[in-house]
Amino acid sequence: MTDDTPYDHLSDGDSEDHRWAFGTGFTDPLEGIDTTVPDSIDPEQLATYCLMLGDDALIYSHRLQQWMTRMPELEEETALANIALDLLGQARMLLARAAGIEETTEDALAYFRIENEYRNVRLVERLDTDFAELVGRLFIFSAWRLALFEKLADSRDPVLGAIAMKAVKELTYHRDYAAQWVVRLGDGTEISHGRMQDALDTTWPLVDELFETRLPASLEPALDRSEVDIVLDTVFATATLDRPEVPARAAVAGKTGRDGVHTEDLGYVLADLQSIARQDPEARW
């Protein structure tokens, strides 16, 4: 390799090295896994549900990645990068599951859908303006997702069950990490306490949406909210924080994120996430 053609070997079609960029030899994350949909499950509904859970992880992972280089300490930077990477891995498998059923690709779902085709909850879209908002939302999201995925480990769809079982181990670490920060800030100084409480109050209007369901209970487990509340309330109490009492953000004509109705923030996430792929959809590196 000469200095003026440092990328030549990356585009060599026979080389195994042409990877690490969009559209360049990423393998199917479900390669070799039996992806037959069991007879008892409606494939369309399964694809929709995997899209919802995959979109939550994809959009939230991107929002977390936007914190990179802005974290207060190197250890926190590393922690957040790892959490975002775990969620991206979960997103890839869930989108691949949906893509396999809908005869499209994981990349097409991630890079070429528009806002109203995304099925994520609105909670994951917002741009954090404060470190307290970062850890507050991460704690609530992880507590909810962990409780849900513990149930999904027994899903009638063995692929979704396997993805959930794996994710449970990761989400346990995410929830602990965020909870420890919520306690540290809430039970810290007057200033950190005030900002942590403000962060929870800001996040709270979008929490109800996490517990909405759209699909039959045989596919989408109904999560008992009290199971999540026990965890949230324990941490809030330890952190000397009040459980927010603010009204939920209204649906738009009865529709929320799960129906493809989003906040303005999602557009900014997608503009960032999809820009390279949309500029040159055929690009190969």
Binding site: E31, G32, I33, M93, I163, K166, D176, T234
Partner: protein
Amino acid sequence: MTTVTRAYELAATVRDPELPMLTLADLGILRDVTEHDGAVVATITPTYSGCPAMREISADLEHTLRRAGFADVRVRTRLAPPWSSDWITSDGRRKLAEAGIAPPEPAPRRSGPIPITLAARSRVTCPRCGADDTVQTAAFSSTACKSLQRCRVCDEPFEQVKAI
């Protein structure tokens, strides 16, 4: 030696790109090697969902087996049961410690909802000086599968493979 045994023994020597002191077998991510319609099929499992090394590992496996004369090689992923740090072999644990990385304690076994952890996790033995007086400084490290620790006796930082 049968073809499958030879292929397994070869596949087992491939090293993990992020923990190169360990082979795929040491790490417990090589689940099995079988023969299917004349092809050698190696099955691996990711440590974490977002493990960026899976593609690298798959390519290394394929190269190693092809170079040894196996013409038709396929690498497959298996997700269930999910990888556990308990699958790291005793050889693997020794190699980790020799490289300054503390091996994981036994993975937690739970039934019912997973309890939240607000206090630091259990102490581990310093792989450099052997002292037990260590503290976790971060639950995440250079890779998702490790945490960052510090020894309060020799004062050195070190990594530990997380117990999952």
